[in-house]
Symmetry: C2
């Protein structure tokens, strides 16, 4: 239980052997979310032990190839594996045409339902809502419509103190009600306050995925106070003009966003293929935002761990 983020790809569009294009797995309690799906993502999942059969929701930020070209192959593989469970896809509307066209030309219609949720390009809104979690979109600033995703856990139920339930001989059937925050009335009519019976749970986790985007403070209200912000940093500061022209950000700009958003931690990714050594991204970001990390492929960032490193 909890939130764990596994990086499958952290490179920008031009392919290199050292890194793969964008893709991440967010394990949010019981759910396994796939966020972006560049070419080769399904192989990265095999490599890093992610079971693709567990994914029921896929989020695609935009339709540049390095963010979606692995999707059709992944969906095909799930079909070959005999999947029956519906797959929910949240993506720009035109991606549905891509999937339909492939299913038509491959002579291989999907044996499981694909439930397509078209994103609205210029509006931030909730697109997923369960008792545990919401996912909302955030409008980014890129060359084509591009959407970030913010995953926010809802406030967790209070934790029952086992010793107290024994002390007051509280039956199991009343536990759920107490966890929700209610007081408990003993058979003799005496009320026991909820705070005596329960402890506060940990604060809810939240994760914001912002790729690709120029430095764009309009996103701040949507990503405020997140536990972890993933923000693209395609370039270092010496290419700040190029970044702006191409709708990308620098490491320092990403750090400035993390600071203003009051994020707890920042992960940088979507690195230009021209960089082999990624340490300068930390060197440039950390003076502004100390809790900055690198999206290293194969690495899992566990939100409950107090100490993160940049090692695999």
């Amino acid at each position: 239980m909890g939130f764990k983020l596994t990086i499958l790809g952290s490179n920008s569009a031009r392919p290199i052997l050292a890194r793969r294009p964008s893709a991440q797995i967010l394990q949010a309690n019981q759910e396994t979310f796939l966020i972006d799906c560049g070419e080769g993502t399904q192989l990265q999942m095999i490599k890093y032990g992610i079971k693709s059969s567990k994914i029921n929701h896929i989020f695609i930020s935009h339709l540049h190839g390095d963010h979606y070209l692995g999707l059709v192959g992944l969906l095909d593989t799930l079909a070959l594996s005999g999947r029956q469970t519906p797959m929910h896809i949240y993506a720009p509307p035109m991606l549905e045409k891509v999937l339909d066209l492939h299913h038509q030309i491959s002579g291989f219609p999907s044996p499981y339902p694909i439930v397509f949720h078209p994103l609205i390009a210029d509006q931030s809104r909730i697109i997923y809502d369960t008792p545990e979690l919401t996912v909302s979109t955030v409008v980014l600033s890129h060359r084509i419509p591009c959407t970030g995703f913010v995953f926010r856990e809802k406030t967790l139920a209070r934790r029952l103190l086992k010793a107290k339930t024994l002390e007051y001989n509280i039956p199991f059937t009343d536990f759920h009600d107490i966890k929700k925050g209610n007081d408990y009335t003993l058979p003799n009519g005496i009320a026991i306050l909820n705070h005596e019976l329960t402890d506060a749970n940990r604060p809810p986790y939240s994760y914001a995925y912002c790729s690709d985007t120029a430095y764009f403070p309009d996103i701040l209200p949507h990503i405020q106070n997140v536990s972890v912000l993933y923000h693209e940093a395609t370039y270092l500061q010496d290419k700040i003009s190029k970044a702006a022209i191409r709708g990308h950000a620098t490491a320092q700009e990403a750090a400035a966003i993390a600071l203003q958003a009051n994020a707890e931690r920042l992960i940088l990714g979507h690195f230009s293929s021209s960089y082999q050594d990624l340490n300068p991204f930390l060197t440039e970001a950390r003076p502004t935002f100390a809790q900055t990390y690198i999206a290293i492929e194969g690495k899992t960032f566990d939100f409950k761990d107090k100490e993160w490193t940049n090692e695999l």
Copy 2:
């Protein structure tokens, strides 16, 4: 100069870490042809030192994902690299819609011309013809329309005997004419027969690519006497019924085709993901056709080499 075949992928559809989906490079004299382009092909090219910029002609056999899903990413990468040269694509007609749709939705029209040559599914015909080489299609037997490709070098010009040109003091400007097979007349009117001035060149090379297909003797007239036949062998003989149902062949069936086609050598590929050890494919094929080899990724088969091995 000559023919060299480099295997980039030799696996069937379900992805595994050990092998990649179908893709090959045929270096035929000056030309670099890409044949099929499964997901991840561009990365395989980087890994094995193939310069994608040199490719001007791409041949796609059919529209199952494991044969074409790497194409869009490759074309994008060439665009990012500033390509201007036209790219010729020979493929089933609907692939053009896939490319058009991607260029539309990615907001990134191709900066170089894409010349699309739609294949005719049920007809074998010449689709490429230069003074050096023809490429013709061959109708295969698969679950959806699937086309094989036969690359046939034309008869090579005769080789001039340098000693003879010196002996008869023949000027450089007459060399081309003699290589074409003409006799040479000395200034004194005496004719020197071409056979005294030239040697026969090596026999022309030819290569047939047949993937995916069931055992289908209808292809024999089209692939007769090829230097090298690549024939799919998705399964071993114990799965011959499964192979037939799925429009695939076994190693032994591929060997039978090679034998009947009077091919010089046979390369097997498109192996089912369920096989880790590929040696049984040789064990089953070689009693029928001794000159059988395995499509090992990264391996280059040079047609001029008399001895081939199954080692990298």
